[in-house]
C-alpha cells in the first residue's frame, strides 16, 4: 500500500531527501508531496554568490525530481494536526501524511542594531535577497565605486562579501570575534586570510560590531563600536543563522534550549511520525549550518522510511572553499580541543600559505588541520583524520610535500556524497570506471564540491589504471604535448615528427591527431602531399563516409541563413545526382549517396554557386546555429543571426581535437539551444552571455556561463581565447565539456585563464586565431583548383569512371537509400554478387 510522505521545505536538504527516497524506494512504497515556501524549487545555496556572475537563477538549479513527486511551490505548511496526521498549508490545502519531514532550514540572524530595518539593509540567504541587494546597489546615488558593509566575518559573511564584490562594491567586513572565520580557522590562518582578502579591496574590522545604522540623505551611515564611521550604499547581515523551528514550537514538538527541533540519531522528533533534517534540526544539542550533515540526515531518513535502521553518523564539519579566490580548508579538530593535542604549523608568509596539523599527544594520530592560501593537500589529509599520521607531520604540510599518503580502505574520500575509498577502488577494479568521469558516474564521488578529484586521479593510478598520457604506441607524448612540440619546433610533416619524437610507422590514432595539429597550425591544405595520408575516414575525401562506402555532402550555410537561389542550387544538384536530402540539426542540408568519383562534380556546381565546405566531415567548427533574432522576432533583444554568421565565418575551417558546435540565441527564450553547444551565446538586454562546454551526444550537458553582458568585441576575444586554449591543451577526441572537467580547477581555472589572463597567454591565443582567420581558404575550392588532388577522387585507379559495383540503392518515401550490404564470409569477399 502506498504511504504518503509530506516534506515541509524544499531547500538543498529537502531536495536530497526526495532524491534519496526516489532512488531507494524501488517498489514505490512512498508517494511524496513537498510544500515549499520559496516560489522556486531547490537551488544550490552553497554557490549563491556565483549568482552575481550571471544573474541567471537557472545556473543554481538542482536536478528536477521525477514526475511522481508532487512539488507545491510558494505554499508552505502552516499547521500540523498530529492526531489526524494532516498538515494544512498557507493556501488552505489539507494534506494527510503517514510521515512528515520538516526541512524548513533556517533564517539569517539579524543582531538588534538600531536601524537594521532601514531600506538598503539586507540579509544574505536566498536568490531574492541577492536581487534585493542588486536593486539597492543600482539605485544608489553615490558616484564612483559603491561601498557596502557585511556584518559577520564567518564563512557566510565572506561569501556575502564576495557577492558584493561581484556587484562592483568595495565591502567592509565587520566581525565581532577577534578574527575572520573564527569557527574554522585559527589565529595564524585568519591572519593570513585577512592579509590575502585585503589585497582584494576588502576592509576587515575585527573585534567590533555595528552599534547603529542611520539614514543620511539617501546614504547609510554605520557607526561601529570602536568609533569608526562608515558611509555606505548597502548593508548585509550575515552573522549566523537561526533554525526555522516555529512549526515544532507551535505544535508541541520538543525544541532545544537555543532553538532547533530536537531529533534522535534517526532524525525523529518527539513525534514518531515526524522527522526533522538540516538546519532546522537539533541533534545532540547541535544545529548544523553546513549542507553535508544535512545531506547525511536526509539519507538517514530515506533509509528509515524504507524500514532501515540508519543512524546519523556524526557530522563531518570539514570545509574546503575558495573564498574571494583564497583557498581555505578546515577539518577535524582544527582548534586542537582534544586534551593534550599537539599542533604542527608551517606558516609561510612569503608564499602566502598557512598550514596546521593537529595530532594526538603521542603524535601518532591525526586529529585535524587548517589550510589557508593553498588547500591542495586537503583531499589527502582530511580522510586521514582519526588515523595514524603517515610519517613526519611537518613533511606532510611542508612546501615539498614529499610524503606519499596512502589512505585506509574505509576512509571517506568524497565527504559530499559519503563515498569511501573502498567503493571507488571497487568500481575501478571491476572495470566499471576507468577514468575520473567514470568514477563520478558510478559513485557520485567528485560531483559535489569537487575537492576530492585529485584524490580520485591518485586512486586510479594506485589501482594500476594506466593514466598514461601517451597518445598511442607510437608517441609517449600527450596530444597537448605534441601540439607544443609541433608549434615550437615548426615541424610540418608527420614523418619528421615521428622520426624525431616517436617510433614506428604511425597508426589510425596518431596520424589523424597530428593531421589535426598541423591543420590547426595552418599548414596549408589538409590533402596536400603527405598530409593526405594522415587523414581519417571522412577527411580523406572531405565528405562523410556512410555505411555503404558512399559519402554525404554538407555545404556551409552560415547561421542557417540561405537565399532561395542557393536553396534551388542545392535542390538541383541533389536532383541531378540522385542524392537523398535531409535537413540537419545544425540548420543545413545534407546530401547523401554520392560516390567518391561524383564528389568533384557535385562540389564544382556548389562552389560555382558560392558555397563552401561545411566541414561536416572534420573535427572542426561545424555550424553556428541561430534563432531569427531582433530582425523579425517580437521578443529578440539582439541580432542573433548576424552574430552567428560572423562567428561561423570567423571560425570556419578551424581544426580542433573534436568537433565544435555553436549557437546564438537572440533572447533568453533560447530557441537556438545555445546551451547544448561547445560555445553558446545568449543575448541579454546589455550584450551577450557566453556559455561553454555544452554538448548533446552520449552524455548531454548544458554549457556553463563564463562571461555575462559582454559586448560583441569582448565576446569574440573570449571565444578566440577559449577555442585556441582548447585546441592547444585538449586530448584527442575530447569535447570541450570533458576538457573543462579535466582541467585542474575546472571552469574557475578556465575563467582565470581566458577572462582574467592568469597565464598571460591571451594575446598569444588571440594572435593565433587571427592567423587562422587570415589563412582560411575553402578546402573544396582547393581540391577543384589542383589537378593532383582532384585525381585522387576516383573509384578505381585502373577504371576511374566505373562506379563501385557493390553500391546499389532502393527507394524509400520518394528518395533513394542504400541497399544494405551483405557481410561476406572470409574467403568469399571478392564476389560482387553477395552484395547485390
Amino acid at each position: 500500500m502506498t504511504r504518503t510522505l509530506v516534506v515541509a521545505g524544499h531547500g538543498m536538504v529537502g531536495h536530497r531527501l526526495v532524491e534519496a527516497l526516489r532512488e531507494k524506494d524501488v517498489t514505490g512504497q512512498w508517494r511524496i508531496v513537498v510544500f515549499a515556501e520559496e516560489s522556486r524549487p531547490a537551488y544550490d545555496r552553497v554557490a549563491l554568490s556565483s549568482y552575481v556572475d550571471s544573474w541567471d537563477a537557472g545556473s543554481l538549479a538542482m536536478p528536477p525530481h521525477d514526475d511522481t513527486v508532487e512539488l507545491r511551490l510558494g505554499d508552505q505548511v502552516v499547521h500540523i494536526d498530529r492526531d489526524a496526521k494532516t498538515v494544512r498549508t498557507a493556501s488552505g490545502r489539507v494534506q494527510p501524511y503517514d510521515a512528515l519531514v520538516l526541512a524548513t532550514g533556517s533564517v539569517p540572524f539579524v543582531p538588534p542594531v538600531p536601524g537594521r530595518d532601514l531600506p538598503g539593509c539586507h540579509v544574505y540567504r536566498t536568490i531574492d535577497d541577492l536581487d534585493g541587494i542588486r536593486a539597492t546597489v543600482e539605485s544608489a546615488r553615490s558616484s564612483g565605486r559603491h561601498a557596502g558593509m557585511v556584518l559577520g566575518g564567518g564563512l557566510l559573511g565572506l561569501e556575502a562579501a564576495n557577492a558584493l564584490r561581484g556587484m562592483g562594491i568595495s565591502p567592509h567586513v565587520v566581525e565581532l570575534g577577534p578574527r575572520l572565520m573564527p569557527l574554522q580557522v585559527d589565529e595564524g590562518g585568519a591572519g593570513l586570510l585577512k592579509r590575502l582578502v585585503e589585497k582584494l579591496d576588502l576592509t576587515v574590522h575585527t573585534g567590533t560590531s555595528a552599534s547603529s545604522i542611520e539614514e543620511d540623505r539617501g546614504r547609510l551611515i554605520a557607526k561601529l563600536s570602536n568609533g569608526v564611521e562608515l558611509d555606505l550604499d548597502v548593508v548585509v547581515f550575515s552573522a549566523g543563522i537561526r533554525p526555522r523551528d516555529e512549526l515544532a514550537r507551535s505544535f508541541g514538538l520538543e525544541v532545544g534550549p537555543r532553538g532547533g527541533i530536537v531529533v534522535d540519531k534517526a532524525c525523529r522528533t518527539s513525534d514518531q511520525d515526524i522527522y526533522a533534517i538540516g538546519e532546522c534540526a537539533n541533534l545532540d544539542g547541535m544545529v548544523y549550518g553546513l549542507v553535508a550533515p544535512g545531506y547525511s540526515m536526509a539519507e538517514v531518513v530515506a533509509d528509515r522510511l524504507l524500514g532501515g535502521d540508519a543512524a546519523f553518523p556524526g557530522a563531518d564539519m570539514s570545509t574546503k572553499l575558495k573564498l574571494l579566490g583564497v583557498d581555505v580548508a578546515s577539518f577535524g579538530d582544527a582548534h586542537a580541543k582534544e586534551e593534550g593535542a599537539l599542533e604542527v604549523v608551517v606558516n609561510d608568509a612569503v608564499a602566502g600559505t598557512y598550514a596546521k596539523l593537529v595530532v594526538s599527544d603521542d603524535a601518532k594520530t591525526l586529529l585535524g588541520g587548517i589550510l589557508v592560501g593553498d588547500a591542495s593537500k586537503y583531499g589527502s589529509l582530511r580522510p586521514l583524520v582519526g588515523r595514524a599520521v603517515p610519517g613526519d607531520p611537518v613533511a606532510l604540510i611542508g612546501p615539498e610535500g614529499g610524503v606519499e599518503l596512502t589512505l585506509p580502505h574505509d576512509a571517506q574520500v568524497c565527504s559530499c556524497h559519503a563515498v569511501t575509498k573502498q567503493h571507488i577502488v571497487d568500481v575501478v577494479n571491476s572495470g566499471d570506471a576507468v577514468d575520473v568521469p567514470g568514477i563520478k558516474a558510478c559513485t557520485k564521488a567528485g560531483t559535489g564540491c569537487g575537492s576530492c578529484v585529485p584524490m580520485l586521479k591518485k586512486l586510479l593510478s594506485e589501482c594500476g589504471v594506466e593514466q598514461s598520457k601517451a597518445l598511442c604506441e607510437h608517441f609517449d607524448q600527450s596530444r597537448a604535448e605534441l601540439f607544443e612540440v609541433v608549434r615550437s619546433t615548426g615541424t610540418t610533416t608527420f614523418t619528421e615528427l615521428i622520426s624525431r619524437h616517436g617510433r614506428g610507422l604511425g597508426c589510425d590514432i596518431c596520424k589523424p591527431a597530428v593531421a589535426s595539429i598541423l591543420a590547426s597550425l595552418d599548414n596549408g591544405h589538409v590533402l596536400e602531399g603527405e598530409q593526405a595520408t594522415l587523414q581519417d575516414t571522412n577527411d580523406r575525401f572531405l565528405a562523410n563516409m556512410q555505411r555503404n562506402g558512399t559519402y554525404s555532402v554538407v555545404p556551409r550555410i552560415p547561421g542557417g541563413e540561405i537565399t532561395p537561389e542557393k536553396l534551388i542550387v542545392i535542390g538541383e544538384v541533389a536532383r541531378d545526382y540522385g542524392l537523398y536530402t535531409k535537413i540537419t540539426g545544425g540548420q543545413r542540408i545534407d546530401l547523401f549517396g554520392a560516390t567518391v568519383d561524383q564528389l568533384p562534380g557535385i562540389w564544382k556546381r556548389l562552389v560555382d554557386a558560392g558555397f563552401e565546405s561545411g566541414h561536416a566531415y572534420g573535427k572542426a567548427l561545424r555550424t553556428v546555429k541561430s534563432c531569427v533574432g531582433t530582425t523579425w522576432c517580437r521578443f529578440g533583444v539582439q541580432d542573433s543571426v548576424s552574430l552567428a554568421i560572423a562567428l561561423e565565418l570567423r571560425y570556419r575551417g578551424l581544426r580542433s581535437p573534436h568537433k565544435l558546435k555553436s549557437a546564438v540565441s537572440g533572447c533568453a527564450r533560447e530557441c537556438a539551444e545555445a546551451r547544448g553547444k561547445d560555445f553558446g551565446i545568449i543575448a541579454t538586454e546589455n550584450g551577450w552571455n557566453l556559455y561553454v562546454g555544452g554538448n548533446g551526444g552520449f552524455t548531454p550537458r548544458h554549457a556553463d556561463l563564463i562571461a555575462s553582458d559582454v559586448d560583441t568585441d569582448t565576446l569574440v576575444k573570449l571565444i578566440d581565447r577559449f577555442l585556441m586554449f582548447y585546441i592547444r591543451t585538449a586530448d584527442r577526441l575530447q569535447r570541450t565539456s570533458t576538457w573543462i572537467e579535466s582541467l585542474e580547477g575546472g571552469l574557475d581555472h578556465l575563467r582565470d585563464v581566458i577572462v582574467d589572463d592568469s597565464l598571460g597567454i591571451c594575446a598569444d591565443l588571440e594572435a593565433a586565431m587571427e592567423k587562422h582567420v587570415d589563412n582560411y581558404a575553402d578546402e573544396w575550392r582547393g581540391v577543384l583548383e589542383d589537378p593532383e588532388k582532384l585525381s585522387r577522387f576516383t573509384s578505381f585507379v585502373n577504371a576511374p569512371d566505373t562506379p563501385d559495383p557493390t553500391i546499389s540503392f532502393r527507394e524509400e518515401r520518394g528518395q533513394k537509400v542504400p541497399v544494405l550490404l551483405g557481410v561476406p564470409a572470409f574467403g568469399a569477399a571478392e564476389s560482387p554478387e553477395v552484395s547485390r
Partner: protein, 106 residues
C-alpha cells in the same frame, strides 16, 4: 596477373582501389618502406568496398591498414584481422614489372 597502374601513381601509405576483370576489387598499397601489397577491398565488417581508403601504419611493428568504417586493423602481408583473428581479407599476389603494378587472383 592484371596490370592495374604504374608504381609512380601510388603515394606511400595511401591506398588505391583497382577493378579486376572478374569484377572483384583490390586495395593496393605502397608502404613507406617501399613494399607493395594487394588485399581484397571489401571490409568484412561493413561489406563496403573501402579498405583502400584506410589509414596505413603499424600495430606493434606489424604493417596494417585500418578499415575506415569501424577501424579494425588488417595485416598487409597476410590479410588477417588483428582485432578478430577469425576473419580477414584475401591477399592477392602482386608484382611490379617495368614500373607497372600487376595483381593476380588470391
Amino acid at each position: 596477373m592484371t596490370p592495374v597502374c604504374e608504381l609512380s601513381a601510388l603515394r606511400p601509405d595511401q591506398g588505391v582501389a583497382a577493378l579486376l576483370p572478374d569484377g572483384s576489387q583490390v586495395a593496393v598499397f605502397l608502404t613507406s618502406a617501399g613494399t607493395v601489397h594487394a588485399l581484397g577491398n571489401i571490409d568484412p565488417f561493413s561489406g563496403a568496398a573501402v579498405l583502400s581508403r584506410g589509414i596505413v601504419g603499424d600495430r606493434g611493428g606489424v604493417p596494417v591498414v585500418v578499415s575506415p568504417v569501424y577501424k579494425q586493423a588488417f595485416e598487409l602481408t597476410t590479410g588477417k584481422c588483428l582485432d578478430d583473428p577469425s576473419t580477414g581479407v584475401p591477399v592477392h599476389p602482386v608484382v611490379v614489372r617495368d614500373g607497372v603494378i600487376q595483381v593476380g587472383s588470391p
